[in-house]
Amino acid sequence: MDDLKKEPTYIKTFSSDELALSTKNLSVLYGGTIQKLFNVSLGFKKNAITALIGASGSGKSTFLRSLNRMNDKVATVKGNIIFHGLDVNKPNINVYELRKNIGMVFQKPNPFPKSIRANITYALKADGQKDKQKLDQIVEESLRAAALWDEVKDKLDKSALALSGGQQQRLCIARAIALKPEILLLDEPASALDPVSTAKLEDTLKQLRSRYTMVMVTHNMQQASRISEYTAFFHLGHVLEYDVTSNVFTNPKGRITEKYIQGSFG
């Protein structure tokens, strides 16, 4: 495996006022011994979509789930995650508050078995928002932002499970942005969707770009090149290349990146 040298070829950096979130030497260990991620230091630019690409098992999802501390119970995460100048990977951080600021959308749509409205309002109510009018307003805003409003406005009190897969996924986005996060983490959000739903989802994400910083794991390289500004390439737990998306795809600096982009493995 000598040809798969794990030295990064290029890691783009941003000035600190451009950054929404960054990691420093982030490592993840499962069961105390199996290391899935090695010293990953990445910065994510504000109001941009950053794609994380790489083969299965390259650690991109593990990395993503560490950012909002979803790995707390299953793995040991070492290193720093800097958000507003604060290391949020410290044990004394209130993860519930953190997750309200860093929302997440999962691979498989996972709406609650509740009404469309309740899917969005449940977390808000738990957060103390009781004003009915305000809640209605947030429901409409979030659904509009997720480009779902026109399709569901007449059936807000019907079950979310009756929606199509694509609609469910957009509802999950609406549910996440209802909490007004700054960052949205997307874990292969389109992998369970058909091409038409995927296109719609991508349009939605592009519209959200101006208001949210998004980090998206994807298996689909066309998708990464279509909607992301920056792309990081993960390989065996290391980030080998991180640059403007067009550079990564048209002019990769590393041999492994090039091979992956060309589809030689993955």
Binding site: L98, P111, P113, A126, D127
Partner: protein, 297 residues
Amino acid sequence: MHAKRNDKIATVFIYIFVAIVICILAGILGEILITGLPHLSWHFLSSSASSFQAGGGVRDQLFNSVYLLILTIAISLPIALGAAIYLSEYAKDNWITNTIRTSIEILSSLPSIVVGLFGYLLFVIQFNLGFSIISGALALTFFNLPILTSNIEQALEGVPQSQREAGQALGLSNWKTIRGIVLPAALPGILTGIVLSAGRVFGEAAALIYTAGQSGSTIDYSNWNAFSPTSFLNVMRPAETLAVHIWKVNTEGIIPDATIVSAATSALLVIVVIIFNFGARALGNMLYRKLTASNTK
């Protein structure tokens, strides 16, 4: 052609075995209902049991059975729910958890007569509760807890992990996620678990003979003072249930119509179990639809 022939033989055997099961079930149920139903009458349901003459009813036994069941569920449900939530949501996968699970499994196969004798020693003698409804309810709780706990645990584990992740990713605490998302989603399964265990409790005799007693006291259904000895609500009075009544009239009963009474009581027992089976299912579906909003127009 071997594969095809073997497949046919296997299919025939499977059908035969299914037929055996169905025949046994239908035979038992049919026998109970055919011999019992003709003797079920309003008079039988509304009059008290007689000690010597023919023509007694099972009013008090029916009430006692239902009352004991309600008390048992009321005591065991909160405990079982808590234990099940712990096992499914909080417990780490280690040897302690596995020991707890194994213990629960062993307890659930404990013979009910053993539970009854244990209840007799602990509640009736040690705690000085005497032969009483409360002793019976506590013994039945011991009998019911393991099964109820594992039924509820299974229902909770049937809720996909992605639902919990969705809750946590929205900044909901663990408890809030369990209460607001996991529990409602598991509700139909939990109700089924309650019903299944309730059927067992309702028909239980051995655990009650030495705890709730075999004789009924005089009960006044208009006396709502639960502390009065004659009140139907009094938990300190001895109480004979339907299942114990069947056992009793067949062993030491001296009434001339013992066969008729036990046949009718058996039919009644089966019918009541069937009724709240369906009832709870309907209730579960209704609650589920309400909680998940899947019925609105």
